[in-house]
């Protein structure tokens, strides 16, 4: 340890130590001279002999200095300074290199940063690795929350959690803060919420058991952002009031800046204590609680899973909904309890975007690879220009490794500068991407600033990049023997096989990107134009949301009917209806459906709630029976519509109309009559073909949902937006939270594909441009180095045309080899992303053909000019130069 300290001291006092050593050796030399003089030699002779005996002082000093052990570092530092000087002398190359590196490394960082924020980053709470989430497995394979009774039973029987709480999953609400009314997000969580997570308040206090005593709640905890934005960061905000749906809540505290709740993508404005006493909340069929617990010290996730699985049967028995028959009973008991880590919080975006982000990661990795290959070519050309310098150095005794280190220092410097710039590019890119992928009603709160992981990733990529594009040219550049390099007519390596293979690599990679882009663009086109079983043009979607207190005392079915009639009376409106989820939302909400007779096992079908005239509004077909009417309300018997595919499945022998079915677990939907069969439209996810669906009428299922109004316009739907909004607001119960056409909604649903398609097109074109430049450079060089050969050919009678063809053929051969190498890679890649494609075979001929033609065209263009120059060579000039 002391030794290291002494070495460090030497490093910082180098100059001083150097001078001391020199003085010391001078003294030694003088003593020797004196001794020689005493032995009888003359002054001059004494000095000579002494110096001869002493040896080379410079060498001695160097050897002594090397004992300090910092030599490699010093050499590296010198290499860096030299690299700075050489790069400064060629600003064009340096700028191009740094920019292309910044783009490549920045793109990689941006995607990784987004992946980090969505998938990798842990919650900013104490020891997030000890947090686990409990959920149940639904029959259709999805994970679902727990019911209130399940939560309470687990709370009673568990012994492995030091803290356990339930969270509502977040929701939207109307707020009034500081006199301003707005719509924001709310979190409802049981009293152990903050304690289990380990969050300390920034101001005031957090939940205590007393807060739950009053139900509905009378207190709230503010999120940091809400505090700053809506209350201007008032330090005396504790004790002030915020209104939630017209109810005043006293603010008891504010959470710190880095905490934004369990949900990764948004920060709710407030958290309200949840006391689950309400009868509707406690219904045993309602699975709505997200349960999170903190494991006790020393308990592993496996142990937790084992213990919970042991108590789960008892919990199930205690929480079984009443009046369950055998089929439904078995269904209920078949649910398993799932225990997963909650260290990275909960995210709805994560599920949806992990795969496309992975694909994008691949795309930008290829782009970086292309940039590296390009740079390698440029570095090779530079190395060619420094042959003499390398030759002299090697003649003076430098080892090959020493020269390579010099080249690597340059590469590292370029990469480091590119990475630093790249981090800036990444910040901007992440923000841009994050805004693209989220179009919720509450603003996104993903923090795009790079944290330690992103910086480390960027640094790692930079080093890898530097090695990738630095080593090969360095190796090639130092291969020549010193003697040949010193001679002026040295053969330069810039046109050799290595340079050619670089261009071939660029062509292959560009092919992969171009064909990939083509496939995604075609996928998007197919998804937009495929017959989904309903008409997609001319439809306006209006998301309704109640004013504060807007639903108080309101007979909602009557209200909706009145609203529909008013809107239908507008000029330019063909028909109006309502729906809960459809059309075009990026997931399908499924529940088990079975015939009441129990003849068949339950089938998972998409469930949705429709108003009357929905079929007409969306251009769907009624195949048998009738559509819903406003008379299908709470006083009438329960009815449903089914899709043709579901009808065929459940009742293969005959007519489904008139049959009775059971849907899900709700007690109101255990005896439903089918009144109509409609075509199997892909109303939700366009990709799923002929989904099995069951629809319930709005008049019977309006509880607890916020329907969307669906308007079919005669001509242009956007023109209707304002009149419709005025009608809604004129009725004073609700307002329009969002109005968009179906096509706009479709754009949002196709976001994954559009994202990849756009980015890969952009990068593909960039790659094509780089390949074109690379090929052009190579061909130019080839022509200039073959001037003599061409001169001889033409002197012997070759036509300019044949010379032209010769040169162009060379370029085409390179591209052909690149294409041949790229095709199997592209095939492999398309297999990897096949899940994201639609309507295309594994080797889509159109995209592949398009990519190849584009590359060939570019090859012709790039080779033409140099070839023309070759054809124009004057044989006399050429032969004279030789």
């Amino acid at each position: 340890m002391c030794e290291l300290w002494r070495r460090l001291l030497c490093l910082f006092r180098r100059g001083c130590l150097d001078r001391e050593l020199e003085k010391e050796m001078q003294f030694h030399l003088d003593m020797k001279v004196r001794k020689n003089r005493e032995a009888g030699m003359h002054d001059e002779q004494a000095r000579c002999v002494a110096r001869r005996q002493f040896g080379n002082p410079a060498l001695l000093r160097e050897d002594s200095r090397s004992a300090w052990g910092w030599e490699s570092l010093e050499r590296f530092w010198k290499d860096l300074k030299f690299a700075v000087r050489t790069l400064r002398r060629q600003p064009g190359f340096t700028i191009v290199a740094v920019l292309s590196l910044a783009l490549g490394i920045g793109a990689n960082s941006a995607i990784f940063s987004l992946i980090n924020a969505l998938v990798l980053r842990t919650l900013p709470v104490r020891d997030p690795g000890r947090l686990v989430q409990l959920s149940t497995s639904s029959p259709s394979g999805r994970t679902e929350p727990l019911s209130v009774v399940m939560f309470e039973e687990i709370q009673r029987r568990q012994q492995i959690f030091s803290g356990l709480f339930a969270w509502s999953g977040g929701g939207m609400a109307n707020f009034e803060a500081n006199g301003v009314a707005y719509a924001g997000g709310r979190d409802d969580a049981t009293v152990e919420y903050y304690k289990t997570l380990g969050v300390k308040p920034l101001l005031g206090r957090l939940f205590t058991p007393d807060d739950v005593a009053a139900s509905p709640a009378t207190v709230a905890v503010l999120d940091y952002r809400c505090w700053r934005r809506r209350f201007n960061g008032d330090p005396a905000v504790v004790g002030r009031v915020i209104r939630l749906e017209e109810r005043p809540l006293t603010i008891i505290g504010v959470t710190p800046e880095n905490f934004s709740g369990l949900l990764v993508e948004v920060a709710s404005d407030i958290a309200v204590p949840l006391g689950i006493t309400d009868e509707m909340q406690r219904r045993r069929e309602s699975l709505w609680l997200n349960v999170v617990g903190r494991l006790r010290d020393g308990v592993t996730v496996e142990q937790a899973r084992a213990q919970l699985e042991a108590i789960w049967p008892a919990v199930q028995t205690a929480s079984l909904p009443e009046g369950r028959q055998d089929g439904a009973r078995q269904e209920f008991f078949r649910r398993r309890l799932l225990v997963d880590s909650a260290a990275t919080g909960i995210s709805y975006l994560r599920q949806r975007f992990t795969r496309p982000l992975a694909v994008l990661m691949g795309v930008v990795a290829i782009v970086l690879l292309i940039a590296c290959v390009n740079l390698a070519g440029l570095m090779l050309a530079r190395a060619a220009g420094r042959q003499r310098e390398m030759g002299i150095r090697m003649a003076l005794g430098a080892s090959k490794w020493r020269l390579i280190r010099q080249h690597l220092a340059e590469s590292l410097l370029l990469a480091a500068t590119g990475a630093a710039l790249g981090l800036l590019v990444a910040q901007w890119g992440t923000r841009f991407l994050a805004r693209l992928i989220w179009r919720g009603y509450v603003p996104l709160s993903i923090d795009p600033t790079p944290d330690g992981k992103v910086v480390a990733f960027t640094a790692g990529v930079a080093v890898l990049t530097a090695l990738l594009f630095g080593i090969a040219p360095a190796w090639r550049g130092t291969r020549t023997e010193p003697e040949r390099a010193l001679r002026r007519t040295a053969r330069m390596p810039a046109g050799g096989r290595f340079a050619k293979s670089l261009v071939v690599a660029q062509v292959a990679l560009s092919l992969v990107l171009l064909v990939g882009a083509g496939m995604f663009l075609r996928t998007i086109h197919k998804l937009r134009t495929v017959d989904a079983g309903f008409r997609r043009d001319g439809i306006l979607l209006v998301q309704l949301f109640p004013n504060p207190g807007g639903h108080k005392g309101l007979n909602q079915p009557v209200y909706y009917r009145e609203l529909a009639d008013k809107v239908a009376a507008l000029p330019g409106v063909r028909s109006v209806s309502f729906s809960n989820l459809a059309p075009i939302i990026p997931y399908e909400f499924k529940q088990p459906v079975e015939p009441k007779s129990g003849a068949f096992a339950p089938v998972n079908a998409v469930t949705d709630i429709l108003g009357p005239r929905f079929l007409e509004t969306l251009g769907m077909r009624l195949i048998a029976g009738r559509d819903f009417t406003w008379r299908d309300d709470a006083s009438a018997p329960r009815v449903a519509l089914v899709s043709e595919s579901l009808a065929r499945r459940l009742f293969p022998s005959g007519d489904a109309v008139g049959q009775r079915i059971r849907v899900g677990m709700d007690r109101e939907s255990q005896d439903i009559e089918i009144v109509g069969v409609v075509n199997s439209a892909s109303l939700w996810v366009v990709r799923s073909r002929e989904p099995m669906a069951v629809y319930t009428p709005l008049g019977q299922a309006w509880h607890g949902i916020q329907p969307r109004m669906v308007v079919r316009a005669a001509v242009n739907p956007t023109g209707l937006a304002e009149p419709v909004r005025q009608i809604i607001e004129g009725m004073r119960h609700e307002y329009a939270l969002q109005i968009q056409t179906l096509r706009e909604s479709e754009d949002w649903a196709l976001l994954q594909e559009r994202l990849i398609g756009t980015l890969s097109s952009f990068f593909g074109s960039l790659a094509l441009l780089l390949a074109c430049i690379g090929l052009y450079g190579l061909m130019s060089y080839s022509v200039s180095s073959r001037t003599g050969e061409v001169g001889i050919r033409m002197a012997l009678g070759a036509e300019p045309g044949s010379v032209l063809r010769l040169m162009i053929r060379e370029g085409l051969i390179l591209v052909a080899v690149g294409i041949l190498i790229g095709l199997p890679v592209m095939f492999f890649v398309s297999r990897l992303v096949s899940k994201l494609l639609f309507g295309l075979s594994a080797v889509d001929p159109v995209s592949t053909g398009g990519g190849i033609s584009l590359l060939v065209a570019v090859a012709l263009a790039a080779s033409y000019l140099p070839a023309r120059r070759a054809a124009r060579i004057d044989p006399m000039e050429a032969l004279r130069c030789e």
Binding site: C2, E20, D30, M31
Partner: protein, 85 residues
């Protein structure tokens, strides 16, 4: 003792059998400095010149003993090998 003095001393005591090259003396002294086996300080020499004096540290003395015992082991081994011959 200063560097020159060390070289002279070794040469005299060993009666010219061991001659220390300056080329190996100073690097060795630097290494010992780094490892903390000697300390150095500037002082006045006999002829009123400034010279750097080296002194053994306790750690250095330990190391010296270790080196001596190693060396003796080697000598004994060589002697044993030679003796029967």
């Amino acid at each position: 003792m200063h560097g020159y003095g060390i070289a002279q001393h070794i040469q005299q005591i060993s009666e010219d059998v061991l001659q220390v090259e300056e080329g190996s003396l100073y690097p060795a002294l630097q290494r010992m400095l780094i490892k903390g086996w000697v300390t150095a300080e500037w002082g006045q020499s006999e002829n009123n010149r400034r010279a750097r004096y080296y002194r053994l540290t306790p750690a250095g003395k330990n190391q010296l003993n270790v080196e001596i015992s190693e060396f003796e082991k080697v000598i004994q081994a060589i002697t044993r090998v030679i003796q029967p011959a």
